[in-house]
């Protein structure tokens, strides 16, 4: 039976609140799949249903071909880390993992192995309640990997990790995928996912927004804005303004044009006899693509305001 997560028409309601609505997607083995969405999009709810903790209101979840609660050796099938992590504060990391291992008859030597692999060897005997956020994440990852599961589900695994920790977990996730495991990792940070995942499931407001590769996801996003500086900014702005095109003066005297490619802006300026001194296409980032796609689905949004780029922060 191959490792995978299959979600079909999944809906979850809490009272009158719909957390997840008619969600359908498949997470395949051998790659790292990112699970992306703003806070409150339904990521954690979906992950709890994958782990058999919450019951779907309707629809189905299959993990490695079976409903999560039907597994007879669950730690072998799916290892999960949820956010927030559940540990008993006065219990040591070692005993936390030992108790978990014993449910499935996993040996003590495996507990030691996992503790070493996540780098908690020196603090394994200390009470888990005193752990830093990063150490707590490592403990959660250790728990998820205890049974050498075919499918790994991690909710916000890089939260609280330092740069070294983030690099470590990226390497770890790629290694797990290379072993043929299904790796499903949630995040609300696009830039993080861009560097970790190769496939993306994007949700917003409990609904599926995109099921695509990272490269395609960036490509399908709105064209990136163009920054332009010229001899007559006022005239150029008047020239470029049209339906579907927005021209915003940036703080340093340049204009930010959205909706027109750089070549057309240059041509328009040349036709009008305006000298262009700077013309640059901003880098399209996953962040932008994500905001474009999810802005309708975000429940609580700060009022729109122009974002200051790094170049303007010195003012």
């Amino acid at each position: 039976m191959s490792a995978s997560i299959e979600i079909r028409a999944l809906t979850k309601r809490y009272g009158t609140t719909t957390a997840v609505s008619d969600l359908t997607f498949t997470v395949r083995p051998g790659t790292v799949t990112g699970f992306l969405g703003p806070n409150g999009a339904g990521k954690s709810t979906t992950m709890r249903m994958i782990l058999g903790l919450d019951e779907p209101t309707s629809g189905s979840v299959l993990v490695n071909g079976r409903p999560p609660r039907a597994h007879t050796a669950p730690l072998r099938e799916v290892g999960g880390m949820l956010d927030p992590r559940g540990v008993y504060p006065s219990r040591s990391a070692y005993h936390h993992l030992l108790a978990l291992a014993q449910t499935s008859g996993i040996r003590r030597s495996r507990v030691d192995e996992v503790i070493d692999a996540v780098g908690l060897h020196s603090v394994a005997g200390r009470r888990a309640g005193g752990f830093s956020l990063g150490m707590g994440q490592r403990l959660g990852i250790a728990a998820a990997l205890l049974g050498d599961p075919a499918t790994v589900v991690l909710d916000e695994p890089v939260n609280g990790l330092d740069v070294e920790g983030i690099r470590w977990i990226r390497g770890l996730l790629h290694g797990l995928a290379a072993q043929g495991k299904t790796v499903f990792v949630s995040s609300h940070l696009m830039s993080e996912i861009a560097q970790t995942a190769t496939h993306l499931i994007v949700i917003g407001g409990g609904r599926l927004i995109a099921d695509t590769s990272v490269a395609e996801f960036i490509a399908t996003a709105a064209p990136p804005p163009v920054r332009v500086r010229s001899s007559d900014q006022h005239a150029l702005a008047g020239l470029l303004r049209s339906p579907g095109v927005t021209v915003t003066p940036a703080g340093d005297g340049s204009l930010t044009v959205a909706g027109l490619p750089a070549a057309q802006i240059g041509a328009a300026a040349a036709d009008a006899g305006i000298t262009v001194v700077e013309l640059a296409t901003e880098q399209a980032s996953l962040e932008d693509a994500f905001v474009d796609l999810t802005q309708d689905a975000v429940e609580f949004r700060a009022p729109a305001r122009p974002l200051a780029g790094p170049a303007f922060e010195e003012e």
């Binding site: 709890r48 949820l82 014993q102 470590w168 390497g171």
Partner: protein, 280 residues
């Protein structure tokens, strides 16, 4: 930071494969729950409190009755030296019940329950494992404490020639019955904790069941009060801790204990339904 930043070179996971069998069984879950119980600070304190309350209060009340012995034939005839030395059980039942409540509500309070349930998705082995350990741990702590309280209490009362030997009919049963009563009080706590999922609510419900319900029953008119009271959890259960239960106000020892166990069974049954279904 943009999508064009190169990925770091994939590092192979340093974790070796683990290919041994990992079937979840009730025995394995019981071992896991035992590891949790022995590494949980609150269970240690609850068990220590149970032992101290049984012995400390039992000895204290025995000393008090030594100082103020019963006067007159009727008072001496109705004096129950075993009950005096075992009176700490009245307080220890709170500690034992709280132990049961905490064993499950601490998992809900910390979120550990999600880790536990993800590892045991059939769920009920977790509840049964905890139930078995509540009984085992409470009996292990309170049986020696009950014998110690009885022996110390009788040696104090013996100075007034009020003591009763362990060999007298019903006495050993009352001592052992006290430990059994506390074990079932722990099960009531576990059932309430699993139903309510909150430490505060669980302990409040435990107090209500053991202490408030009898108070309310006391307001019933005359003979009704006795008829109803004997079937209430604490009153029924304490028949087994009494050497000579009064047949007009109390059930027979093991009948009463059976009724008390039935309350625990009903609560655990409801808890099982709640644990098995729905969200964690």
């Amino acid at each position: 930071m943009t999508a064009t930043t190169p990925n770091p070179a994939p590092v192979p996971a340093t974790l070796p494969a683990y290919l041994l069998s990992q079937r979840v069984t009730q025995a394995r879950v019981l071992r896991s729950e035992w590891t949790k119980l022995r590494t949980q600070l609150s269970t240690f304190w609850a068990l220590l409190a149970t032992m101290i309350l049984i012995t400390g209060f039992g000895i204290g009340y025995s000393l008090l009755r030594e100082a103020r012995p019963p006067h007159g034939a009727a008072a001496i005839a109705s004096f129950d030296p075993a009950a005096v030395s075992l009176s700490g059980m009245q307080l220890a039942q709170i500690a034992a019940g709280v132990l049961g409540v905490l064993l499950i509500t601490s998992e809900y309070a910390t979120g550990l329950i999600r880790t536990t349930i993800a590892a045991v998705p059939r769920r009920l082995p977790v509840l049964w494992g905890k139930a078995a350990l509540v009984v085992a741990a409470t009996v292990a702590a309170s049986l020696p404490a009950a014998f110690a309280a009885f022996l110390a209490g009788q040696s104090i009362l013996a100075r007034r020639h009020l003591s009763v030997p362990l060999s007298q009919p019903g006495v050993a049963r009352a001592v052992i019955g006290s430990a059994l009563y506390l074990a079932v009080a722990g099960l009531l706590g576990l059932g309430l904790g699993a139903l309510l999922r909150s430490t505060a609510a669980g302990i409040a419900a435990l107090f209500g069941l053991l202490f408030a319900v009898p108070l309310v029953a006391g307001f019933l008119p005359g003979s009704w009060a006795d008829d109803v009271s004997r079937y209430l959890p604490a009153q029924a259960g304490q028949a087994v801790t009494t050497v000579h239960p009064d047949p007009t106000t109390s059930l027979a020892p093991w009948t009463g204990f059976g009724v008390f166990c039935a309350y625990a069974a009903i609560l655990l049954g409801l808890a099982a339904l709640r644990v098995r279904r729905g969200d964690v």
